[in-house]
């Protein structure tokens, strides 16, 4: 028996009896170039947008509530699903926040491996950004090229942690595994070829008339606007503010590697595109230096803090007390000290911060995820008015928003 449902066509919810010429256009929440579940209510005067209301929350899964009901280690796989294009950077941000809360120091080899993961994730994320943005604007070839390179990086990550997308490759207190044998030569092989690949993309796009028309002087964000809206990462640097958390408030080994922070003062789509390309080059520069650092580090991978971190597997299997501690840590969870901490890291999208309020329990009392894309979506409210319909797609593309992160 066919049962009808109560959904009626959407336009019945909007009144059309307006005196002026204004049209309301619903964009999303399932639009192929919205990079996820973004819904925009656009007020239009002919082709021009007069008012924009981004409507988010279509991927709100209640992660902050979940965190309050989970022990700290349990929450790690959930952070994967936030910015699912660069999972390890989320894992890392959370692990760093908890480490700062309990005051842990991570062994050097773990730091080196984390740096590798962070930078490969940045490359993956930027390649994905390039692929999807180019696809939205109509450059199918770039999409295929960039995905080809991304698959190679995914293979590398898969060699390391076994997952392609949701890595969970960082633990609180270190990393779970050492690098597999072929990781470093394979990564080096990839990096050797990367400049050629980036040049391929640039050859296809830089002088492409369509690309320039859709990118240049479209979506200009002024410095004041970017600061006021809490923009970070490339969105901020394209507007002329030289601010990279890796450089200004260095964490891990970023103070030991040499890299430059590309900045532009144009603030338009094209500037952001150029910065992403430049950042890929910088990432590969960092990766070369980190690869050299790996040699000569001690084999320890996890910090030694029996109160918070399980002992190595060998100890658990051979020593009774380590086994007991492991059992307590797994069943009841670690109990960090009472206090609160806000730790920002530079994820591929921007400033990714974790605010943790701990009351000395195994469960965080409050965990706030400061995801950069949230504000990069918010800025569309002020950015879109004055633009035309086709610009919407290219602006959404270059803001590089990921909805797992916006809605959490």
């Amino acid at each position: 028996m066919q049962q009808s449902n109560r959904l009626r066509p959407f336009f019945e919810n909007i009144t059309f009896d307006r005196a002026d010429n204004e049209m309301i256009l619903n964009f999303g929440p399932q639009h192929p170039s919205a990079h996820g579940q973004l819904r925009l209510m656009l007020h239009m005067q002919q082709e021009q947008i007069t008012k924009a209301h981004p409507d988010i929350g279509y991927l709100h899964r209640g992660m902050e509530k979940m965190a309050e009901n989970m022990i700290y280690n349990e929450f790690m796989p959930t952070t994967d699903r936030m910015d699912y294009i660069a999972s390890s950077s989320n894992n890392y941000g959370f692990a760093l926040a908890v480490e700062k809360l309990i005051g842990l120091d991570v062994p050097r080899r773990a730091k080196v491996i984390r740096m590798m993961l962070l930078e490969t994730n940045r490359l993956m994320s930027h390649l994905f950004w390039l692929a999807t943005t180019a696809l939205d604007i109509g450059a199918m070839t770039v999409f295929l090229f960039a995905f080809r390179e991304r698959e190679y990086l995914m293979d590398l990550i898969e060699d390391y942690c076994g997952a392609r997308l949701t890595h969970s490759a960082v633990r609180i207190g270190g990393v779970p595994l050492d690098l597999p044998d072929n990781f470093i030569p394979d990564l080096r092989k990839f990096l050797d070829k990367l400049p050629e690949n980036i040049k391929d993309y640039e050859d296809l796009l830089d002088s492409n008339r369509i690309w320039l028309m859709r990118m240049e002087n479209v979506g200009v964000i002024s410095t004041e606007m970017a600061l006021s809206w809490g923009c970070s990462g490339v969105m901020l640097r394209a507007s002329g503010v030289e601010w990279d958390i890796r450089k200004e408030e260095p964490y891990e080994l970023y103070d030991e590697v040499e890299f430059s922070v590309p900045v532009s003062d144009k603030g338009d789509n094209y500037a952001r595109y150029k910065l992403y390309m430049a950042e890929m080059r910088e990432s590969s520069k960092i990766l070369y230096q980190v690869l050299d650092m790996y040699e000569g580090t001690q084999p320890a991978l996890m910090a030694h803090a029996p109160q918070y971190i399980s002992a190595p597997k060998l100890d658990i299997m051979t020593q009774n007390y380590s086994l007991m501690q492991h059992f307590v840590l797994v069943t009841q969870g670690m109990r960090p000290p009472v206090g609160e901490v806000y730790i920002p890291t530079e994820s591929p999208k921007g400033e990714l911060g974790y605010y943790i309020n701990s009351q000395g329990d195994a469960y965080p009392y409050r965990l706030k995820l400061r995801a950069p894309s949230f504000w990069h979506t918010g800025i569309l409210t002020d950015l879109l008015p004055g633009h035309y319909i086709p610009d919407v797609v290219s602006i959404i593309g270059t803001t590089n928003i990921v909805f797992g992160e916006v809605d959490r």
Binding site: P29, Q30, P32, L59, Y84, R164, L165
Partner: protein, 169 residues
């Protein structure tokens, strides 16, 4: 991967003998499954990857379409939230018959790890599902295997049969 003949597909109220017309129509249908891009979350990225250069979905005849009116397969890739539920139903209703649904990933199957207030506990509460793919996120190979299974299912159906409601329509 399963290598058995999946009999429950065959016995689900299907006729035993298929005519040649059925075969021709089903050949056409099963080899040009146009999918609606329904990337909701992480699985959507794997869905894109399976359409991109390495996994190349086009060789199955599966091309992603942006409009529900051109699509006959809906790959629900990712977490379906309560706020989004009415839209998935609306888009499903807009698709033309015959239509099939693949629920890709744990979140779409059962809500997965997101056992919270905001998540629909399985898309089959809202739309009927033909195939459930396990994994978080399933690899592109899994999605392609799933589409191959669906093709088999279509080949075994009578072409003129209207789709029977599975749980709720």
């Amino acid at each position: 991967m399963a290598q058995h003949q999946v009999n429950y597909l065959k016995d689900g109220g299907l006729p035993v003998a298929l005519t040649t017309i059925d075969k021709v129509v089903n050949w056409g249908r099963s080899n040009s499954l146009w999918a609606l891009t329904y990337g909701l979350a992480c699985c959507g990225i794997e869905m894109m990857a399976s359409g991109a250069s390495r996994y190349d979905f086009d060789r199955f005849g599966t091309i992603f379409r942006a409009s529900p009116r051109q699509a006959e397969l809906m790959v629900v890739a990712g977490t379906l939230t309560k706020k989004h539920a009415e839209f998935i139903r609306r888009l499903y209703d807009q698709m033309t018959e015959p239509k099939w649904v693949i629920s890709m990933g744990s979140c779409a199957n059962t809500g997965g790890m997101f056992n919270t207030y905001a998540t629909v506990q399985g898309v089959d509460r809202v739309i009927p599902v033909d195939l459930y793919l396990p994994g978080c996120a399933p690899r592109p190979e899994t999605l392609q295997y799933g589409v191959m299974l669906l093709q088999q299912k279509i080949r075994r159906e009578s072409a003129s049969r209207a789709q029977k409601p599975k749980r709720l329509m």
